[in-house]
């Protein structure tokens, strides 16, 4: 385990009280009680076998703070439940760097069972998201070397960038009468892009770029 950990947390130890500004929380392998609420800059680091299980009681991770940098490494997020972003929800004007995540088994009633980005920016790399994704509001989601097994919804003024090695099955865009979402295909691939006939979003980049081979999390 990395030596810059400020706290090592074994399964069964509550994580929330240990989320303090600047902390580097290192989770030991096993199932940890998820349902984190992050309003301060913090790093939450896992590794193989580290599971954040929200137990159906809320989002596995909710980033709500503004002007903070949050790092999430090597975590499996599961059994999160929320209106949006059951696995990971970015609601604050935060910069969230997420690497090596596995997001599966989460639910949401309004879309984005796995991930929802409403504000701020989420950069996702080397990850696999099996649940649906929602990019909405004024949120920005950058994905590289990651795969998306569920539907990816892009709404309002949300921006989804699929960078090198990012692969989404279906991306669905719909605008409102006052603003449009954007899908930027920047080296990444979307097998199918559905753009609403009446309220279309903006698709920037080739919709049929060849699928990236090698690398990535799929």
């Amino acid at each position: 385990m990395a030596s810059d950990c400020t706290v090592r947390i074994s399964p069964g130890t509550p994580i929330q009280p240990l989320i303090t500004a600047g902390a580097v929380l290192c989770l030991e392998p096993g199932r940890h009680a998820g349902g984190l609420f992050i309003e301060v800059p913090v790093t939450v680091r896992g590794g193989p076998g580290v599971i954040l299980d929200a137990g159906g009681a809320g989002a596995a991770v909710l980033v709500a703070g503004d002007d903070i940098a949050v790092q999430l490494d090597g975590l499996s997020l599961t059994r999160g439940r929320a209106e949006a972003g059951g696995g990971l929800r970015v609601e604050g004007f935060a910069e969230v760097e997420a690497r090596g995540l596995h997001i599966e088994g989460n639910k949401a009633t309004a879309g984005g069972a796995g991930v929802a980005v409403h504000r701020g920016r989420l950069r996702l790399t080397e990850s696999r998201v099996l649940d649906d994704v929602l990019v909405t509001g004024i949120g920005r989601f950058d994905a590289e070397r990651s795969s998306f097994g569920g539907q990816v919804l892009v709404r309002e003024a949300g921006v989804l960038r699929l960078g090198p090695g990012a692969h989404a099955g279906t991306v669905d865009l719909r605008a409102t009468t006052t603003r449009r979402p954007t899908l930027a295909l920047d080296g990444g691939v979307a097998d199918h892009v559905h753009n609403d006939d009446t309220l279309p979003g903006v698709v920037d980049g080739p919709a049929s770029a060849p699928r990236a081979r090698g690398g990535g999390a799929d």
């Binding site: 984190l36 609420f37 909710l62 709500a64 209106e83 719909r174 605008a175 009446t198």
Partner: protein
């Protein structure tokens, strides 16, 4: 999100209300409030002028002479004529054969435009028909919801006219009554905002008596803050065809209509009733109504001893408070199957409430005697039935609506006893029938009662929950947000 069951005994069809009188529309200026007005410029209650609406293709006058220029292919709307029915023809000329007569106010989608004639798609019974009508009969309206049993069809409602000034005078959360649309997030948000600041609701809605139209002010978040958005809607609302005074969505017959007007404006803004019926989040909706960003908490991160102080403080600070209930809950294990040998083992799952159904993909059948391996259902959301699969299962099925389960094990494989087969699953519906807590539903918080209990408001206007404890809040709710809605009059 949960729409309310609005089963009603059909009444005899009523004559659709006549189109409003033509008086006061001499200028035919469409939707511009500012140019050429003889009376004072319309303003919101706080004195902010209503901005000029330069809506491109929509005409807002009921004067039919102004409708033809505003119709475009793909537009959603309603056929609003001058009587109880609108005639559709097989061809574009008035000499063409009659195709159908549809009730006045029938939702329609424009398929073709040819000068003063339009071809529209309209639901007639259990199918869509495409016929020609007078463009003057078309009004732009938000698309209605889709028929759950056949998405190719719009729900069988009709737009009806609700004349008069229905602005709120003393709005409160209990004015809201969600209808047959899955937008509980929005209705509960309206209720929460109204509870915290009736003035905010009053500020949001302006009425122009001459045109009979409302302009609703929402807010949209940008990188530089909240920006006002003005949406103008007329006085037509979707209603039951059998009772043209019964709003299909928000609102009850004879009740306050401001929620229905605000809902219609929201639907028009977002792209249709069908769009907002897909659901949304309360934190966003509250911000869109109030102009102030909401603040969320994650119930999963809260300790029980934090819950009551949170609500007490929020109530003391006068915040609008919104909470969402989780979709499913785990049912207690049961052994309802009977059979012998390799089976089949059959049984009906016990549910705690008649509304409850198994959540597809969550059912397991486990042999506590260890003789046969576990089995699981392979259903997905929306399925009415599914297979039950397992290493030792030859065949199995579950009907999610009748709760019936059947499992046939492979030859030579069998549990020692049928009662060893333990069935577990998650269910959706009424998560707690004693407290009346409905799953996958949004609530507006009302107040702390008895010093330590939380009272919520169901935006249906019925099935109100009993006060719940902090522990129960954490058990049932997975979303929570507050909004510091302004109390005093706000500038646009």
């Amino acid at each position: 999100m949960q729409a309310r069951d609005r089963s009603r005994t059909p009444s005899s069809p009523e004559q659709a209300p006549a189109a409003p009188a033509q008086a006061g529309r001499k200028s035919g200026l469409g939707n511009s409030f500012l140019a050429g007005r003889l009376s004072a410029q319309p303003t919101f209650e706080d004195g902010t002028p209503v901005p000029s609406q330069r809506g491109p293709e929509v005409t807002d006058s009921f004067d039919p002479r102004h409708r033809p220029a505003s119709v475009k292919v793909g537009q959603m709307g309603a056929l609003v004529g001058r009587g109880s029915e609108v005639l559709l023809r097989t061809g574009k000329t008035t000499r063409s054969r009659e195709l159908a007569r549809v009730p006045d106010g029938s939702p329609a989608e424009v398929v073709t435009v040819d000068r003063t004639r339009i071809q529209v798609r309209v639901r007639v019974g259990q199918k869509n028909v495409t016929g020609w009508a007078d463009a003057a009969d078309f009004t732009t309206q938000p698309g209605v919801s889709r028929d759950e049993d056949n998405k190719a069809l719009a729900d069988d409602y009709a737009y009806s006219y609700f004349g008069g000034d229905h602005r709120p005078t003393a709005p409160k959360g209990t004015d809201t009554a969600q209808g047959a649309l899955g937008d509980c997030f929005f209705i509960a948000s309206m209720a929460a905002i109204a509870n915290a600041s009736p003035q905010a609701i009053k500020d949001a809605i302006q009425f122009d008596a001459r045109s009979g139209k409302y302009t609703v002010r929402f807010y949209e978040e940008t990188q530089s803050g909240m920006k006002p958005v003005y949406i103008t809607v007329d006085s037509y609302l979707p209603t039951e065809k059998g009772n043209r005074k019964d709003p299909a969505y928000a609102g009850d017959p004879g009740g306050p209509l401001w929620p229905a007007i605000m809902e219609k404006a929201y639907a028009q803004w977002k792209g249709g009733y069908d769009v907002i019926g897909e659901g949304g989040t309360g934190d966003t909706a509250m911000a869109e109504i109030s102009g102030v960003r909401s603040r969320s908490r994650n119930p999963a991160s809260m300790r029980p001893d934090e819950v009551l102080p949170y609500f007490q403080k929020a109530q003391k600070d006068g915040l609008a408070i919104y909470a969402g209930v989780r979709n499913t809950l785990k049912m207690a294990a049961q052994s309802p199957l009977s059979g012998s040998g390799s089976g089949p083992y059959r049984g009906t799952l016990q549910q705690a409430h008649s509304w409850n159904e198994v959540e597809p993909g969550t059912l397991s059948v486990t042999d506590k005697g260890g003789k046969v391996g576990s089995a699981r259902d392979d259903g997905e959301e929306g399925d009415k039935s599914a297979a039950i699969l397992g290493r030792d299962v030859q065949s199995g099925s579950i009907d999610y609506q009748s709760h019936q389960v059947q499992v046939q094990y492979r030859s030579g494989r069998s549990p020692a006893n049928a009662k060893d087969l333990v069935v577990e699953f998650e269910y959706h519906g009424m998560l707690n029938s004693q407290k009346t807590i409905i799953g996958n539903h949004a609530y507006a918080f009302e107040r702390v009662v008895n010093g330590n209990m939380l009272q919520f408001y169901n935006p249906w206007g019925s099935y109100q929950p009993s006060p719940i404890t902090a522990q129960e809040f954490l058990q049932y709710f997975d979303s929570l947000s507050t909004n510091a809605v302004p109390k005093n009059k706000t500038a646009g």
